[in-house]
């Protein structure tokens, strides 16, 4: 048997062989199995960071503040959670946030659906353009600026009260109330909801509505029995987004609430920054995350995960999950 000579191949060939071997180690033999996992990597990384943060926060929530040193106590305890139960303020702000979440979600969906429907179905390009511009314009104005804008409009000497007093009536107290916060939140959430509902309506072919009409359904019946059920994925997605954003909102309750209508996020801020109690703030954040996740989980369980295309198959025509 002939032994291969070291000179049998030129050096450049051997270098190329080595390079190919290195590439072979890096590049998978069956890329169709690995590439999808690589595409998932950013999502996994994002979730991992969130989970890491939550675990860290859960750990912080188990250490009570020592006011002698302003450091968290070494010992682990449920003292911060006990404080959340003992002090009624926390139940108040959590309940207020949850209630606002429900009210704002319902009100926003009621306003967003017709808006999205008209925007998608209108035969007039002018109307569609106006609606689209109106939809995107608020995104150029930050939440804080918008909230301050409402203060100017609804204040004691604002535009609305100016008109009221101009007509000879007494000025009304329009700001620093729970209702004003809800109003501000609905105005803030509306574009998000429209953006989530519009694709769902776009996916419903106009011929489906025409078929319902040709089979004898009037417009309302066709709308209620065909359009609404088929738009359910968009409605559920919009509802979940609006509810969770409302539940955790800080700026609008802070600015439009006048200091007397705090939400849970404001209480978390206070714990972290006003009273320097990071353990208490962490406990409140964990409770809020748990409540929000549970409620969204229940919604998805009732609506069916397939509603949002999470069931591994497309939603059935006709609205079934």
């Amino acid at each position: 048997m002939l032994r291969p000579s070291k000179r049998a191949y030129p050096l450049s060939w051997r270098l190329l062989d080595a390079a190919e071997a290195v590439v072979g180690l890096i590049r998978p033999k069956r890329p169709e199995l690995v590439v999808p996992a690589l595409f998932l990597a950013p999502a996994i990384l994002l979730v991992a960071v969130l989970v890491w943060g939550l675990v860290d926060m859960a750990s912080d929530s188990l250490h009570v503040l020592d006011t002698a040193t302003f450091l968290p106590a070494e010992a682990m305890s449920l003292g911060n959670y006990a404080q959340l139960i003992d002090r009624p303020i926390y139940a108040t702000v959590i309940w207020r946030s949850l209630l606002a979440g429900v009210i704002v979600t319902v009100a926003t969906l009621l306003l967003a659906f017709p808006y999205a429907y008209v925007m998608v179905r209108t035969p007039s390009p002018v109307i569609r353009r106006v609606l689209l511009i109106s939809l995107f314009l608020p995104f150029f104005i930050g939440q804080v600026v918008r909230a301050y804008g409402w203060l100017i409009i609804l204040g004691a000497r604002g535009i609305v009260n100016g008109a009221i007093t101009g007509l000879g009536f007494e000025p009304l107290k329009l700001i620093y109330t729970y209702e004003t916060i809800l109003f501000g939140l609905v105005q803030y959430m509306l574009p998000f909801a429209v953006l989530l509902i519009a694709p769902a309506i776009t996916a419903i072919g106009e011929e489906v509505e025409m078929a319902a009409s040709s089979l004898g359904a009037n417009w309302w019946r066709g709308f209620a029995t065909v359009v609404l059920p088929m738009a359910r994925p968009g409605l559920i997605a919009a509802g979940v987004v609006v509810f969770t954003l409302t539940l955790t909102d800080f700026a609008i309750p802070n600015i439009l609430g006048g200091g007397t209508n705090d939400f849970a996020a404001n209480a978390i801020y206070d714990a972290f920054f006003r009273i320097s109690d990071s353990g208490l703030g962490a406990a409140l954040a964990i409770v809020l995350t748990f409540l929000g996740s549970t409620i969204v989980g229940i919604i998805l369980a009732i609506a069916g995960a397939g509603t949002l295309g999470m069931g591994g198959r497309a939603p059935a025509k006709g609205g079934g999950a």
Partner: protein, 368 residues
């Protein structure tokens, strides 16, 4: 000095003069020290400050003259004091360089940082021995912080709403005609001691029995008060949203100087007097630490104190400052022990220990 050029001699003299301006030490004495090892100067130092009239006063009263004397630019960081605090705490814990060089803080918050051990020792500052006793932190060893002036939480009022003159008592806030037109700080800060007396209690019962204060605040809740922070008060007076407020005198004075028809008084029950402080966080490079401390030393020098606190309308901690013309003799501008006796002072350690509990109780009443 052999071999030194004329320019170098002049430069040395200028450094001595700059140092003298900073420390209040005669130039000749400092001139000898200036040739000792003085750390290199950073291009800038960062000082956290409150916005509005507060940062303007600090800039004109302290920072500009510090820059003139040293050539070091001063950048003001307007992050809220409550928000910078955890950032500094985290930086020190993680052995990172803190985000600012000097923190302008409430004495209560500054004391928390001192208890946590994140403040540098300032006891070698040359201007400390001259200061009034109020400058010394209470309940702490040495000088981890320096109190820089006093301020009073006055009863500010819209003059048009009080044609018969200043209100005499905090109980005016309960008058039904002011429903929805009363304002307090959103954490109740500065109001608890006044509410304690107005509610029929005694200052000596603080903190053991605060029920009279809470009872008064519960009554006030029915008045639907507005709750905000420093800039809100000026804004509310300007917008005609409120008639009476418990706020720091500087905010009321700023509103008045801006042409808003606002005045203030110390009611018969008294008003809370408190202090703010300067401190330097741990973890700074050596040269920056030195110049940060020099900034504090400059801020408590007589010249800077006069300019700074005059603009704020607050009594400084240097003896013999000239009060602003509009505040001379004002009970809300305390300078003598008799003046302070008419006001309500709660020791900082008591505030630090009970702040969380009082905050939560105030919130429970107001959010209910």
């Amino acid at each position: 000095m052999r071999g030194a050029s004329r320019r170098q001699v002049l430069k040395g003299g200028m450094m001595a003069a700059a140092g003298a301006a900073l420390t209040g030490t005669p130039a000749l004495v400092l001139g000898r020290r200036a040739f000792a090892a003085e750390p290199a100067k950073p291009a800038e130092i960062i000082v956290r400050a409150w916005g509005g009239v507060w940062v303007e006063a600090l800039d004109k009263g302290v920072s500009q003259s510090f820059t003139e004397a040293t050539g070091i630019r001063v950048r003001h960081d307007l992050t809220e004091d409550n928000e910078i605090q955890p950032k500094i705490w985290a930086a020190v814990a993680q052995k990172r360089v803190p985000p600012i060089h000097v923190n302008w803080d409430t004495s209560t918050n500054a004391t928390k940082s001192a208890l946590r051990g994140v403040t540098e020792d300032l006891s070698d500052l040359s201007n400390l021995p001259q200061l009034l006793p109020v400058a010394k932190p209470v309940g702490l060893e040495g000088w981890p912080i320096v109190n820089t002036y006093s301020y009073v939480y006055v009863l500010a009022y819209r003059t048009e709403a009080f044609p018969d003159g200043a209100p005499k008592s905090w109980t005016v806030m309960l008058d039904p005609k002011f429903k929805g037109r009363v304002a307090l700080y959103n954490d109740g800060i500065g109001f608890h001691p006044a509410a304690q007396v107005a509610g029929g209690g005694k200052v000596s019962d603080i903190p053991a029995n605060m029920e009279p204060a809470w009872e008064f605040i519960r009554k006030l809740k029915a008045q639907q008060p507005l709750l905000g922070e420093d800039p809100d008060f000026t804004n509310w007076f300007q917008q005609g949203e409120i008639d009476v407020a418990c706020t720091i005198i500087s905010n009321a004075r700023e509103a008045k100087q801006n042409g808003i028809k606002v005045d203030w008084t110390v009611p018969e029950e008294g008003a809370k007097v408190d202090t703010d402080a300067l401190w330097v966080p741990k973890g700074l490079p050596e040269s920056e630490l030195y110049w940060a401390k020099q900034y504090v030393n400059h801020a408590i020098s007589k010249g800077a104190q006069q300019a700074w606190t005059e603009k704020l309308g607050l009594p400084g901690v240097q003896p013999g400052l000239t009060p602003p013309a509009d505040l001379a003799g004002d009970p809300a501008y305390p300078t003598t022990p008799e003046d302070f006796a008419r006001l309500i002072s709660v020791p900082t350690p008591v505030l630090v220990e009970h702040e969380r509990e009082w905050f939560q109780t105030f919130k429970e009443i107001m959010q209910g």
